[in-house]
């Protein structure tokens, strides 16, 4: 356990620096955006030049850039992301409201792409160079070439418009009054298409990584040894070859989380799922720069947390990780 803790501490220190850079970057973007918080406020309430001056002074916007950066950092430390222009509410509140939906969507899509992708990868990698391997490799490449939003539209045309099996969008039936289990089932039905659209794209990635790792592992000596001992083929494939190819996939899981958050922007827009991604699109449409940057900062924190968790899982799975530092 100390091994994992030491790793965690080192990663945490690095993460603080990384997040600081992200914050400074987003402050610069905020400065580059035309207009400031006072302009946005005046647009919605109205007021004269004297009032603008007064507000700028009161909100500290007439101070130097460094002071404003310090104010910005201080506000963030108090978990204050500022006020949304379009919603006229605290940004933190809106983000936390939209977060669960996106987490469910991302979690299900990750489970789908990781589970099915690695399973198909094992199937292909069990016999590298075989017909089924070639077929799956090209098929996965074709899948990886599909834009997620377009796959979403095609799924809508087929399953919601033509076959009428599944709802066209949204997260649940509006004003259905469902509670408990039937509400969960309703949400699940609504999530089938968005999760498929998001998950199937990344499935190809895990499939290809698994296959490549297995093709590599087949050439290793321990596989030869396992064969020499006369182990059944099934056991060699699963316990020796696939197991060794699995670890890089776990690392990929963390790295992909940032990609998936980005992908959920378009998928949530296509399916009208009220999550973080759609919020980002709404922020763009409403020219709500503080909200957009709040979402970016929040996603960066989310990605850092997910990667920390993946690192911990990795340390538990692979006894070699961090062992050198613990003894040093």
């Amino acid at each position: 356990m100390t091994r994992a803790l030491i790793l965690l501490r080192r990663r945490l220190v690095g993460s603080v620096f990384v997040l600081l850079i992200v914050v400074i970057g987003s402050f610069l973007l905020l400065e580059a955006a035309p207009g400031d918080a006072v302009d946005a406020y005046i647009v919605s309430t109205g007021g004269d030049a004297g009032m603008i001056e007064l507000l700028r002074h009161r909100w500290g916007l007439d101070q130097s850039e460094l002071t404003r950066l310090a104010n910005y950092l201080w506000a963030l430390l108090r978990l204050d992301l500022g006020q949304s222009v379009t919603f006229s509410r605290p940004i933190r509140e809106i983000i936390l409201e939209r977060l669960p939906t996106t987490l469910i969507l991302m979690g299900s899509a990750t489970a789908l792409s990781f589970g099915l992708g690695s399973a198909l990868g094992i199937y292909a990698g069990a016999r590298p160079g075989s017909l089924r391997d070639r077929f799956l490799s090209i098929g996965s490449l074709a899948l990886y070439a599909v834009p997620g939003f377009w796959l979403g539209l095609v799924l809508i045309v087929v399953f919601a418009v033509d076959l009428r099996w599944l709802p066209i969008g949204g997260i649940e039936t509006i004003a259905s009054g469902k509670t408990g289990f039937s509400r969960a089932a309703d949400i699940a039905v609504h999530l089938v298409l968005p999760v498929s659209a998001l998950g199937f794209i990344y499935l190809a990635l895990y499939l290809r990584m698994m296959r490549a790792g297995m093709a590599e592992a087949w050439r290793q000596d321990f596989v030869l040894a396992a064969r020499a001992r006369g182990l059944p083929r099934r056991r060699i494939v699963l316990a020796h070859v696939a197991r060794n190819a699995l670890l890089p996939l776990v690392t990929m899981l963390g790295l992909q989380s940032a990609q998936m958050l980005g992908g959920s922007v378009v998928i949530e827009s296509v399916f009208a799922v009220p999550g973080l991604g759609r919020l980002a699109q709404e922020a763009v449409a409403g020219r709500d720069t503080p909200l957009l940057l709040g979402i970016i900062l929040f996603s960066a924190v989310l990605v850092v947390v997910i990667n920390l968790l993946v690192d911990l899982a990795y340390a538990v799975l692979d006894p070699r990780v961090g062992a050198g530092e613990a003894s040093a």
């Binding site: 997040l19 850079i21 070439a145 939003f149 377009w150 539209l153 940032a258 958050l261 957009l292 979402i295």
Partner: protein, 276 residues
Amino acid sequence: MNRLRRFFRTPEAIAGALILALLAAMALAAPLLFPGDPQAIAGPALQPPFQDWSVPLGTDRLGRNVLAELFHGARTSLAVGLAAAAAALLIGAVVGTLAGFAGGLIDEALMRVTDAFQTVPSFLLALAFVSIVGPSLGVVVAAIALSAWTGPARVARAEVLSIRERDYVAGARVIGMHPLEIAFREVLPNALPPVLALSSVIVAAAILTEAALSFLGLGDPNRVTWGGMIAEGRTVLRTAPFLSVVPGVALVLTVLGIYLTGEGVVESTAVSRSLS
């Protein structure tokens, strides 16, 4: 010549090269075959494909010629994809070389910045950049490059770390070359091959990102883009699904062609390496 023959050994590489050749021909021929504004009205709205041969793929919601839009869209997709990928590879190679060659504090600082860029979801970054600066072709290219340079930077740095220990670098130091001159004239060119191996993936990702940005309405409004066509067709998805399907198929084929060609190149060089 030998290398070319080796590239065309697999059917995948041949298919990829054919798709790319067709695409390049489409992009180059667009202003010749469809002169004038592709966004001009060509006939009655929402004509289905294969009926009137003056508009073979039909017309969209505003009566624009879908085939003309498709050809001009190929131009935008290829131009943005290639320009953004070139910019990303250039930034990545320079940052990676500086970090790897300088080492110490500069390396640490540059790599933390790289980490920061990788922590922010790249599509969100591109989205924010375009929405703040304003949509135009140059801004879209910059936004995509900004979100794609980290991979090349890491690869370049790893390569430079091994190259800077070589004898010819020590030799350059001895004859008194300036460190920056060594970094960019001796080290960088030798670190390029593995960085360039990333180009097919980066061009493909750039084309997909551009499509997603235009789909969300953040493309250059004065250019026809495939993503914009899909978004346009989405409003009549129930009655005229072909308007979204046609540009989508074009996108899939383009990206697939790039991947296949990339794989073919990697495979042909892998064989030549193992033979030498």
